[in-house]
């Protein structure tokens, strides 16, 4: 058991280190501005005195290293500072939106993961048949579609032509759970279509890789049905790569929501980020980038740790 614990701790340490470096990058990106933040906000017309005063108010007169640690300390306590555009507390802006984004990503994942694994198993079972080739073409196609294309096609059919679901996913904190599910159905389906292909292809590949193993041959020779061989004998051993690809796709989901949120006017973190980029509201962009990057890194870290923990060879060392 010890070597595995050491590996997990190593990965966690590496993850924390990455998180630290990423936070430094996000913080220091502003330092590359031609002038500095104060100059940038006030514009060219401001007198040197106002710029100096504003610089002091933002704390820009202190050395960067000191400012970084103050910033990091505040962020750790949930205080992201104030928005440059409207002077509101960033934590207030982000809080509810982050929950909304996670709800959407989670909703998409609950549809996508079982669907992808089922399709992957079926494709492996009926490999090289017409069904497999159709799934292959379908997945190649769905990987190639821009997210907004999928989104608008869904809107055209489900919202405009058939009137089944709303084209705008307008939810608030007081919206009930089922109402939320109803209103976020189209964005969730869009995201599902985007991530299913990759997960499904990996599941199929992981299972087909195993089918040449002696114990599968043995199971076949015993006369077990092909479906049972795959589900009972191959699938458990293919779990490690599958769990890995699922976690990576979840990480992609959390980030991939940006475009989808904009299409459906969904009040999530992605939309806030895009709005703030066009307003050049740098503090909000920094805060939301940090939240996105941290979620992404943590999910990738989970994938790493899980693939170590589910590897039978590591769990039972000789």
């Amino acid at each position: 058991m010890w070597p595995i614990l050491r590996m997990v701790i190593q990965r966690l340490g590496l993850g924390l280190l990455t998180l630290f470096v990423v936070s430094v990058i996000i913080f220091s990106s502003v330092e590359f501005l031609p002038g500095d933040l104060a100059q940038e906000i006030l514009g060219q017309a401001a007198t040197p005195e106002t710029v100096a005063a504003f610089r002091k108010e933002l704390g820009l007169d202190r050395p960067p290293v000191e400012r970084y640690f103050t910033w990091l300390g505040n962020v750790a306590q949930g205080d992201f500072g104030k928005s440059l555009a409207n002077n509101r507390e960033i934590s207030e802006l982000i809080g509810q939106r982050l929950l909304n984004t996670l709800f959407l990503a989670g909703f998409a994942a609950t549809i996508a993961v079982p669907l992808a694994i089922t399709l992957g198993v079926l494709a492996a079972l009926y490999r090289n048949t017409l069904f497999d080739r159709m799934i292959n073409v379908f997945t190649l196609t769905s990987i190639s579609f821009p997210e907004f294309f999928v989104a608008y096609i869904l809107i055209l059919f489900f919202a405009v032509n058939w009137g089944l679901f709303p084209s705008i996913s307008n939810i608030g904190p007081e919206t009930s759970f089922w109402d939320k599910v109803y209103r976020t159905m189209l964005p969730a389906i869009t995201l599902t279509l985007v991530v299913v292909a990759h997960m499904m292809r990996m599941t199929r590949a992981a299972i087909i890789n195993l089918l040449a193993s002696p114990y599968i041959e043995m199971a076949r020779l015993k006369g077990i049905k092909p479906g049972r061989v795959i589900v009972k004998h191959a699938l458990p051993n293919a779990l490690a790569p599958i769990i890995n690809v699922v976690a990576i796709n979840l990480a992609y989901l959390v980030v991939g929501v940006v475009v989808v949120e904009v299409v459906f006017v969904y009040p999530g973190l992605g939309q806030l980020l895009v709005d703030s980029v066009s307003k050049r509201d740098i503090t909000v962009v920094q805060a939301s980038s940090l939240v996105f990057a941290a979620t992404y890194i943590l999910l990738n870290l989970t994938a790493d740790v899980l693939s170590i923990l589910t590897n039978p060879r590591l769990l039972h060392p000789r």
């Binding site: 190649l140 608008y152 055209l156 980030v255 940006v258 980029v277 962009v285 996105f292 990738n300």
Partner: protein, 276 residues
């Protein structure tokens, strides 16, 4: 050489033929856009949101420009910019990867760790952060995406070249006293091109979709340039009236990426010699 290519092509599946045909037609449209289009790229020729008529085959857009003309010009702008960006990414990433594996040692360590950190941040988010700081315009976007995407090219180029560097003929050249540049140009690069070409197709698709997404968000290619991503954004309201015109530029994007993916899939299949 040409005969060998033709022999491979004759064995190619339908999807690959379809892909090649689509890619060629896009290239033709991109080169001959001014000849093929009835109106100018930014010329306002009619009312806003005019329906499909014989005068405007695909109607007009939100400020009365001919949709068909802009769609055809888009082949030149959107695809051209994505192509330039991918080339730049390959130049930066490929060079760095080849240098890292040929030189080795500290150079390799430093470059690899920088790439590790850059890859830890999701690409779209990083691109948005950098665009906020340097400002949104086409040149900035090309540079940022090329830089971010070069990390993926670096990984592959380094991995492929590392297998070449240990070969005897590279060792011989080293002992002969050849310099790093000579080694890269004459020994390592020629032996690493095959996987890099297939990767070029995949990276192109990725860059193309990323640029389309940024332009769709209004943060990429800026108006009045005819660009497929921003055309969808500008005309999206039409969809709520059941009009499919705004979907056409999006379909143009999708069709090209599907085509490139089909060709790459066939190339990888053919070069790996797998039947499964």
């Amino acid at each position: 050489m040409l005969i060998a290519v033709w022999k491979e092509l004759k064995k190619a599946p339908f999807t690959a033929w379809f892909g090649i045909a689509i890619i060629l037609s896009y290239i033709i449209v991109a080169f001959f856009a001014p000849v093929l289009t009835p109106y100018g790229e930014t010329q306002v020729v009619g009312d806003e949101y005019a329906p499909w008529t014989s005068e405007f085959l695909l109607g007009t857009d939100n400020i009365g420009r001919d949709m068909l003309s802009r769609l055809l010009y888009g082949a030149r702008n959107t695809v051209g910019i994505a192509f330039v960006t991918t080339c730049l990414a390959f130049f930066i990433g490929g060079m760095a990867g080849l240098i890292a594996s040929t030189v080795g040692g500290w150079t390799d360590q430093i470059l690899s760790r920088i790439v590790d950190v850059l890859m830890a941040i999701p690409q779209l988010i990083f691109a948005l952060l950098l665009l906020t700081i340097v400002g949104t315009n086409v040149v900035n976007m090309i540079l940022i995406i090329a830089l971010l995407d070069s990390t993926r090219v670096f990984r592959l180029a380094r991995a492929v070249a590392t297998n070449v560097v240990v070969m005897d003929f590279v060792e011989v050249a080293r002992l002969r006293g050849e310099g790093i540049w000579w080694l890269i140009r004459h020994e390592v690069l020629p032996n690493s091109t095959a996987p890099l070409i297939a990767e070029f197709g995949l990276r192109f698709c990725f860059v193309f979709l990323l640029i389309a997404a940024l332009s769709f968000l209004g943060l990429g290619i800026q108006p009045p340039t005819a660009d497929w991503g921003s055309m969808v954004r500008e005309n999206a309201t039409l969809i709520t009236f059941g009009d499919i015109t705004p979907l056409l530029p999006a379909a143009a994007i999708a069709l090209l990426t599907v085509a490139v993916n089909f060709v790459v899939d066939w190339m990888l299949h053919a070069s790996s010699g797998l039947k499964d």
